[in-house]
């Protein structure tokens, strides 16, 4: 009996100990489980306070007739359902601004990616003093104040006394309405934005190139690959992630295109350079139609969200 009992007791005792140990581990594991959340919580709270909350507020405001009188007293704010959205979709100016934004994105994003990649590869060919000076030179537009840029380019582009038209006249060409012709103005504004945005992307591509191990190039040259071959078969494939990063960020920033048309043309002539962001700004901060502007900004948010999601998706598939 005792003999039969003993193993049972022993077994029970073992079970108890094991349970205690397991419990202890679980508590310990639970604590360990929380630690990462503790670390991400400040960033997460910031994201909620400054990223998610404004979107929720904008979504709520977009269902009201909020304007400046609503700002003065909540009593003047009324729930209007989807009226702002139906007014938005029937506004010809909204569709024109969407079309303009699509044109700007179509022009700007490929040009920026190609130009900054090309310049970055060219700049990486040497680290002489001259090339280092060039790097600073290309970065200059990115750190210059937009107001100064708009003044200078405004003078260059001016149709009456602009430098560009003067240069054209010296070779006998007729003047161009850089900022005053509805078609030309789109290109003029996009050109300034491309010139301004390239610097930062060049730096990103330069940094990514420095991270490519020298061994690859050595191996390639031993195999007899020339300079061009190395660029196309070593550098560019290894810059894949940088190219992806630059295209995503550039695409997002061009969908929110605002600064250049705001300072150069105020969206004119006749709305030809009004981007969707500028349209939202005008509705919200010139006409004080906060509800309507919130509806428009929510539409823009959805568009950007969808486009970026598609980009991330295709990237994942191509990686597989």
């Amino acid at each position: 009996m005792t003999q039969t009992l003993r193993p049972a007791t022993k077994a029970r005792a073992t079970t108890v100990v094991a349970a205690k140990v397991r419990q202890a581990t679980r508590t310990k594991r639970n604590g360990a489980h929380l630690t990462p959340y503790l670390f991400v919580s400040p960033a997460f709270l910031c994201l909620i306070a400054f990223g998610v909350a404004p979107i929720v507020v904008a979504a709520a405001v977009s269902l009201t007739n909020m304007d400046i009188s609503g700002l003065a007293s909540w009593r003047n704010v009324e729930f209007v359902g989807l009226a702002n959205y139906s007014a938005l979709f029937s506004d010809a100016a909204f569709w024109e601004s969407l079309r303009n934004t699509a044109i700007f994105v179509g022009m700007g994003v490929p040009v920026i990616v190609v130009v900054s990649l090309a310049v970055a590869i060219a700049l990486n060919q040497s680290s002489s003093r001259f090339f280092r000076a060039l790097r600073a030179f290309y970065f200059l537009p990115a750190i210059t104040a937009i107001v100064a840029i708009s003044l200078i380019w405004g003078y260059l582009y001016n149709s009456q006394f602009g430098l560009l038209n003067y240069l054209l006249s010296t070779v006998g060409l007729p003047p161009v309405s850089w900022l005053t012709d509805p078609v030309v103005a789109k290109f003029s504004v996009a050109l300034v934005a491309i010139w301004r945005a390239s610097g930062l992307n060049i730096i990103i591509f330069l940094a990514a190139q420095q991270a490519i191990p020298k061994e690859y190039y050595e191996a390639a040259s031993i195999d007899g690959a020339g300079r061009w071959r190395q660029i196309f078969n070593v550098t560019i494939p290894l810059l894949r992630f940088a190219i992806f990063f630059v295209s995503v960020t550039t695409l997002i920033s061009w969908m929110q295109f605002f600064d250049e048309p705001y300072v150069l043309t105020q969206g004119g002539p006749t709305g030809a350079t009004t981007s969707i962001s500028l349209y939202i700004y005008q509705q919200g901060f010139r006409f004080n139609e906060f509800g309507f502007a919130s509806a428009a900004s929510l539409v823009l948010f959805v568009i950007i969200f969808v486009v970026t999601a598609i980009q991330l998706r295709t990237r994942r598939f191509s990686d597989d």
């Binding site: 400046i68 900022l179 901060f285």
Partner: protein
Amino acid sequence: MNRVLRTALAAAAAFALSTPLAACGDNPPAGTTAAPTLKVWIMGDDGKNFTNLVSDFTASTNIKVDVDAIPWDKVNEKLTTAVASGNGPDVMQVGLSLLPSFQAAGALLDLNTYLRDYPNLKNENFLDAVSSDKLNPAGKVLTVPWIADTRVLFYRSDILAQAGFSGPPTTWTQLHDYAVKLAARGKGQYGYYIPQWDAPLPIQFTWQAGGSVTDSTGKVNLDTPEFKRAADFYTSFYREKLVPTASDFDQTQGFISGAAPMLISGPYLAKAVADQAPELAGKWGVTMVPSDKASTALFAGSNMGVWHKSTNVVASLKLLDYLAAPATQLKWYQINGELPTVKSALSDSSITGDANAQVYTKQLQNAKLLPVVPAWDQIQQKLLDSLNNIALKGADQNATLIQLNQDVASLQK
């Protein structure tokens, strides 16, 4: 731990004690302060001149005036911030084009019950165009007139004389015929100039055609034969290539160089031309705007109002009363070149003695306010876009105007 707790308690106690004290500092009981400081918002870059203007006021009343100059393109931002936070100035200048926004925002104190104590602020002192009933919702006085501004026809008498015209055009037909002849001077020479951002211009044309842009209920209505005629007159300058199409055409330079020898603008252009091209003196002039049925121009300018939460209402009204005194109005005209809204000041010899000012004064008798309706900013943007689409992009005139009327109606729902 104990120390932390004690420190926290001390801090909380200090905060609790200081709060009522701070509140006392912010809101002195009315009447106890002998010399309040008024915070005043002045639009544009005239803040310094305004400080000089009110130095007499401070000397005689002991009320200090703290002037905050706000650039015109920042006014709306400043207003929305002030409305949202509840913190505003005591007195503020309100450009007439911004009056609907300021009224909708509930930013202005109703001065109706106070006015009888201030003789200078009597309604009959001011020009008819800015009489109280035209500026305010029924039964209220939210602002009082401050400075007057209008539009007149600027013309280059030397260039007109070369083209065989002895004087400026006085009718639409003449304006058109003169422009045709002047535009034929050659390439880069125009007959007239239309600023593409100038929304009041087509409205003035409508008035000149004998029409109105509001119906009997006060709503904006552009579906009238007079507006159609005005729109047609506006676009005809582009159709017949009498005006520059570049939106960045500089009107001052264009007038000085003679490329645009006629245009409708405000007194500020006279100042710019006199400053930048003194040698042109005697070669240009101003006159009443040409008429189709009437010679009506825009009444622009600014009013003054009191912030709805101001704690210095009496002192603010004293300042408004001082600003509306004929002597102050004339002094402002001398130091800043802006015209008085007070009738008696306009008949002073310092104004009647100046040829240009005489024309402005005469035009002010035949000048109208833009409609004071909340959606006006959006309506005038739609109006400009429509006319410029017809003029510059070749959009169909009838279809565009029908769409404009629909937009105007839906903006006022």
